[in-house]
């Protein structure tokens, strides 16, 4: 990509990532949540890949670690659901007594579930993107 895109990306990518994390961490307080924030976080990595190429982004977050993080998110979400069995039932909100409503640390397992969905959705969208880009690079290499 051109110098303009790279410079703008370097300036804004941290802000995009932070905004995605904000949306996820405040998912139980304000509109948003794990899915939307996860896609925004994935978009910041997609931005990095588009501006600086696959090698730079693989140094930050490679495709293999994306697969790992996605599976980790799925396991974390299932583990939260199964932990509820200990107290009441599947998906029981077992720590909701702590924290007052409206504070960042409140609502029991909901923020944790949001973080699990962030890992799952962010890494999933990013690995889909990487798969499509890698295939396209192969085809361009074949044509030349």
């Amino acid at each position: 990509m051109t110098l303009i895109v790279r410079t703008v990306t370097r300036l804004t990518i941290g802000l995009i990532l932070l905004y995605g994390l904000y949306i996820v961490l405040h998912g139980h307080l304000t509109p948003g949540g794990g899915f939307a924030g996860g896609v925004i976080v994935a978009l910041s990595f997609i931005n990095l890949t588009l501006a600086f190429g696959g090698k730079t982004s693989a140094g930050v977050f490679s495709g293999e670690s994306a697969h790992l993080v996605e599976a980790l998110g799925a396991i974390m979400f299932l583990a939260l659901a199964l932990l509820g069995l200990q107290w009441g039932g599947f998906f029981d909100n077992f720590i909701h007594a702590d924290g007052e409503p409206g504070m960042l640390v409140s609502a029991g397992i909901i923020p944790l579930a949001n973080i699990a969905i962030l890992l799952k959705v962010g890494a999933g969208i990013f690995s889909i993107f990487l798969a499509l880009i890698v295939v396209q690079n192969f085809e361009e290499g074949d044509r030349q």
């Binding site: 998912g27 139980h28 978009l43 609502a107 029991g108």
Partner: protein
């Protein structure tokens, strides 16, 4: 409510343009217009959660489509000269309109008016029951956790499918017989 109908008209126009236009990049941009109008429509219907999700997923989808279609000459598109398909499409559209007219003789009830009992319970109970001030989050992650688990499974299946179909090694093996795949 008039702005909602303007947005709906814009979405229909964008969808028709996306199907009819010859240039793939223009089609992708028209699809993006549909998604953006849908996001604003969600905002007007007071669903900010869905609006945020819609706009970020739309951005990701447009980036993916542009990367997947740009610099690639896919010339095969359905030819316009297929009267049978157009006639059948119009016939089924008319059938649907006729069926809905007979099903709702005095028109549809206003948006969101026949509230289910459970949708009155969720806003009342969400604060005390879960401690979350965002009722939507409380519903999708606490009351309806099963739904979210199913959604996550759907996304997981989609990712596995994409990775299985688009993996690089399979493409390399098929290099010799690449012509037959088109």
């Amino acid at each position: 409510m008039i702005e909602l109908y303007v947005l709906l008209g814009l979405m229909i126009a964008g969808a028709v343009i996306a199907v009819e236009v010859k240039d793939l990049l223009s089609a992708v941009i028209a699809v993006g217009v549909v998604g953006l109008a849908l996001s604003i429509a969600f905002l007007l219907l007071r669903a900010p959660d869905v609006a945020i999700t819609q706009i970020v997923v739309e951005i990701a989808a447009v980036i993916l489509l542009i990367r997947a279609t740009l610099n690639r000459d896919i010339s095969s598109r359905p030819s316009a000269g297929r009267p049978f398909g157009a006639v059948m499409g119009l016939a089924f559209l008319g059938l649907g309109v006729l069926a809905s007219l007979t099903a709702f003789p005095e028109g549809l009830s206003p948006f969101g008016s026949p509230l289910m009992t459970v949708s009155a319970f969720y806003p009342a109970d969400a604060m005390s029951g879960t401690g979350a001030t965002n009722v939507v989050s409380a519903v999708i992650l606490d009351y309806r956790g099963y739904d979210t688990l199913g959604e996550a499974t759907v996304l997981f299946t989609a990712v596995v499918g994409v990775l299985a179909v688009m993996r690089a090694t399979g493409r390399r093996d098929a290099e010799g017989s690449g012509e037959s795949h088109g």
